[in-house]
């Protein structure tokens, strides 16, 4: 965890409202793992005041990158930084995905949530593990992601606006792959509704290990403001425990967060 003034190499729109930002950040690069995030300072104005958390989209050769969607003022400001400028970032933050010793690895991304899974896909690829990428989208706005993935990665996508009979939800994609008793690790990143659906499909099954990345509004990003509370089950204690998405997360075992809801 360190603060770095990272030089912007690329900050380019790759799809409507979606930007790819690549930073020279050797310190953070060398410490980062898939699922972790950085905290970006948007400049000297007090408005907006806080840093913005962004997952690490990929990390290669002293560079880290971020894929972000312009949804508000902060991301809008970010999109206007030019290459060559420097960004004050903190990272890598949080606990990323734990790569499990399973025979299959399923990466399930919902929309922009897919960002950290790209880094994970490359990591799995480097480790020669068998992986499948499942992408859920509203229309086709995230199809470009394929270009950022290892070229030989098995890849499926669903679109909410698909005609009947075609996969509309990520669970439509997933279902056919669940028959096999193979031990499978699921890495999920998207809206919480998606996690619930995935859980209903395979939460109870022992040969699945599911991790989910939890999104919370963040203050500090480093564990001191307690703004990013997540309730987790923590057996043998009855009461849920309050942990921090920015330190104990953002990645949690699915069961810790959602098991009570099944």
């Amino acid at each position: 965890m360190l603060q770095e003034n990272a030089i912007i190499e690329i900050n380019r729109q790759v799809a409507p409202g979606i930007y790819y930002l690549r930073l020279e950040s050797p310190g953070i690069f060398s410490r980062s793992h898939p699922g972790q995030f950085i905290h970006i300072n948007l400049g000297t104005t007090y408005d907006p005041l806080l840093r913005r958390p962004m997952s690490i989209f990929n990390a290669e050769e002293d560079r880290i990158s971020v894929l972000y969607q312009v949804v508000g003022r902060g991301t809008e400001i970010l999109s206007r930084f030019n290459p060559g400028a420097s960004l004050d970032i903190i990272g890598p933050l949080g606990r990323g995905f734990e790569i499990k010793e399973k025979s299959r690895h399923f990466l399930l991304g919902g929309g922009i949530g897919s960002a950290p899974l790209v880094y994970l896909a490359h990591q799995l690829h480097r480790e020669n593990r068998k992986a499948i990428f499942f992408l859920g989208m509203r229309t086709e706005e995230f199809l470009f992601l394929k270009e950022f993935l290892p070229s030989d990665l098995e890849f499926y996508f669903s679109q909410e606006n698909s005609p009947a009979g075609h996969p509309r939800l990520i669970t439509d994609l997933l279902a056919p792959h669940l028959e096999s008793p193979e031990k499978t690790a699921l890495y999920c990143c998207g809206p919480e509704g998606m996690y619930r659906q995935i859980g209903r499909l395979c939460g109870g099954k022992n040969h699945f290990s599911i991790q989910v990345s939890i999104d919370r509004r963040m203050g500090c990003g480093v564990g001191t403001c307690l703004g990013c509370a997540v309730k987790v089950k923590n057996p043998p204690r009855e009461e849920p425990e309050i942990v921090r998405a920015c330190v104990e997360g953002p990645v949690f075992p699915w069961g810790e967060v959602f098991a009570n809801e099944l």
Binding site: L2, T224, C225
Partner: protein, 308 residues
Amino acid sequence: MNSKLKTKIGSLQLNNPLLTASGTYGNGKEFSSFLDLHSWGGLVTKGLTLDSRTGNSGIRIVETPAGILNSIGLQNPGIEYFLREEIPFLEKLEIPVIANIAGRRIRDYEELARRLDPVPAVSALEVNVSCPNVREGGLAFGTNPALIYEITSRLRVITDKPLIIKLTPNVTDVGAIALQAEKAGADAVSLINTLLGMEIDIEQKKPLLGNVVGGLSGPAVRPVALRMIYQVYRQISIPIIGMGGITRGEDAVAFILAGARAVALGTVNFVNPRAPLEIREYILKYMERHNFSSLNSMVGLAHQEREA
């Protein structure tokens, strides 16, 4: 370290006037990868209660114009855990540690003071009588001068450690309240805690924060904080620890000129972990430029010039 920056809060010696603001710095550990914690004048712990508290549910932090609203609700693992798990880290620090305490009833505070009094690693107590995020009480103490007198004098009997009363800005006359703290034997007051505010989610048509209201901090509140410190300085003679929106060296200097003998940094830590280093540097340069040989000689100068 530069001895020009030394300052005193009661019997508490600080190498420089910069303290962490309670609740914004954990107990320091998290920030130790960004800077040497000994750069601070002292460390104020997150708010401690007798029992562990899980804090408020729902959204707890939201950004507002030049500020943030928080409704953490005093989440903390309780005094027991603090003494067992966190003191070992804190006692290795060579700067003073100030324990911030909060409770629902006066006897909670008494019990906390009793438990902390014998702990050598704790150099002083900061009494939070003003947390806006606990429904059961807290705020009630902070707005009532008689209760401030009561709680301060009761704690005064329990401990000889410097006793700092942390005041809420959500009152008509903060000076009157500070005066009661002084009369009852407090060694210092610290102000301001957060301003009570709220935000509404207009799509859901309901309050955005889980706890409905929250505490406003950050640059937005700075002019209010500065005014209160200026005002209280004219009414009491014990030291003031000033805070509320300090982010730059200029702000810290303004608070000191207004009458603060030390200043605390809160929200800024979330944005710029190196703020204490930059602010310390700025104060030193300012003192050089204006020929101040001690921090003490700066305190409250904005009043003197006015009278001249």
